[in-house]
Amino acid sequence: MDSYDRLKKDKTGIYCLYIVVFYLLVAVLAKIGWIATPWDKTVGKGYEPPSFISLELWLGTDIFGRSVFYKVIHGTRIAMSVGLVSALMSTPIGIVLGALAGYFGGWVDELVVWFYTTVSSIPNIILLIAITYVLGKGLTSIYFALGVTAWIGLARVIRGEFIKHKTREYVLAAESLGASHFSKIFKHILPNVFHFVIINLSIQFMSAIKAEVILSFLGLGVQGQPSWGVMIDDAKMELARGVWWQLAGASIAMFFVILALNILGDALRDSLDPKIK
């Protein structure tokens, strides 16, 4: 476990891990309804500026008098769910396709490489817009769009690693003991390259959150729920009237989790793969 020890020594990295865990915790608590529920309750007049009278009001209210603080918390829930679901969908696709291509080579490899070159030839934002447009607005479309597009980077890395590992001695030893293809891929090679999956997760989580905000902002995403992107979209009209707190709340919430994921990604890379500096 020396990679874990290395990570523990990286103080900033550990703090960032705590921040991400905190966001996840907030998301779970909001989901089961222990905090900030209901978010669409009227807590004051429309556009009340931030004040310290109560917790609900400390980020002010939106046009309908709903608490911006509660909306930020529920935005966190949506952002985290988008990150999580898209990672859960795309990671297995990336692992399996990358592993098959790298391990078997030949026409399997050519097919997989053709497939991901083709998908990555469509600029990502265009593909995301096209998928969410075709599937119809809403959270499900976003999950799906991110899930089916985000596997490419991981598949590329895993393919490269499998090509390197498949001729190593431990794999040949397993083969001579009669290990099947399946067991060589998943029992022998995969655990040795799994750190790339973990490093990839933090990057993927981050880009999923960013993409959700942009898609929701374009009106293709979350409907009738307080996502950060929707809040920033509202702010476009509000700023001219001097209402800055929705923009500030959503941006700051997003800023800290992205910052934490950025630094955590670097810390994970340094501790899990010390060869890359």
């Binding site: 053709w114 096209a130 599937l135 905000v213 374009l218 800023f255 910052l259």
Partner: protein, 311 residues
């Protein structure tokens, strides 16, 4: 050489076919009948039949696909549903505005990023390096929408330093409208670029030849600006060149916010109007331009770098 170029061109054919297939399946099959996406679920039946006939949605799928391939080959994507304009015309009008924002912003931004990364890499480990690296991560973590809204609200609306939005067709007048989106573009990309370039330069400083140069008694500026700089330019230029095909895309958000009538704005307007033919055409065309750009980049690369093999 010519054989290499021709082979390279042929190798993009399966990719182009794949892109066409994905976009076709996505738009004409996954989403169900596109007519409903354009008109909504409760349009009157006569209008539905008309639209279906006009855009050929009443044909069998393989004929639709064939028609779509024909559209790609002839660069004739029919008419927009919302504005009735010819789509090919909309696109050719949109390229110039997109590029007049993207090209200067890209080159100024890259130049600035390279200069800063040289500075911080030279003072690596010192406070100036730490401040800039922290600044980079900080800047990367701010949502790009926040830059845009802050710039537009504070610098343009409150301070009045720049026009809030707009565009001019003639050149010196156009610049006034492009300045602010250009600054925002540079600000958004600076963090990523500086961090990447700094890493690329620092990777070179660990190489053996640097130790040799130091061992033979060269002073630090000479080691850095003569030996390290030359070699670190290879990964930096690679990274810069790869981004050039993407410039055609412009920037969706910047164009839409600042009223620049480029390809990004056209796409976002089409999304808002549920303009099915335009979204499909834009997806296709931008992907094709992207593939083409990558191909040209690859070819130029082999011309410039003798080490890249022509196999």
């Amino acid at each position: 050489m010519w054989i290499y170029i021709i082979r390279k061109m042929f190798s993009t054919v399966p990719i182009i076919f794949g892109v066409a297939l994905i976009i076709f399946v996505l738009f004409n099959m996954v989403g169900g009948d596109p007519t409903y996406q354009m008109l909504g679920k409760h349009a009157n039946p006569k209008l539905i039949a008309e639209i279906r006939h006009e855009y050929g949605f009443d044909q069998p799928k393989y004929i639709q696909f064939f028609e779509y391939l024909k559209q790609i080959a002839t660069f004739d994507y029919g008419r927009s549903y919302a504005t009735r304009q010819r789509i090919s015309e909309m696109i050719s009008n949109g390229i110039a505005p997109s590029l007049s924002l993207a090209i200067p912003a890209f080159f100024l931004g890259t130049l600035l990023a390279i200069s800063i990364s040289l500075l911080v890499a030279y003072y690596r480990g010192k406070w100036i390096d730490k401040v800039f690296v922290f600044g980079c991560v900080f800047g990367m973590s701010l949502p790009s929408l926040a830059y845009i809204l802050f710039g537009q609200y504070f610098l343009a609306y409150k301070k009045g330093w720049f026009p809030i939005s707009g565009y001019e067709t003639t050149w010196p007048d156009r610049l006034e409208y492009l300045l602010m989106p250009m600054f925002i573009w540079i600000a958004v990309s600076l963090g990523y670029d500086v961090r990447f370039f700094r890493t690329a330069i620092l990777e070179e400083t660990n190489q053996d030849y640097v130790r040799t140069a130091r061992a033979k008694g060269l002073n630090e500026p000479r080691v850095f600006f003569k030996h390290v700089l030359k070699n670190s330019m290879v990964p930096i230029i690679t990274n810069v060149v790869i981004e050039i095909p993407l410039l055609i895309l412009g920037s969706f958000l910047l164009e839409s916010f600042f009223g620049i009538p480029g390809l990004g704005s056209i796409t976002i307007d089409a999304v808002h109007n549920s303009d099915f033919p335009v979204i499909k055409a834009m997806s296709t065309l931008i992907s094709l331009l992207f593939i083409l750009g990558n191909m040209v980049t690859d070819i130029l690369y082999t011309l410039v770098d003798p080490r890249v093999s022509l196999e």
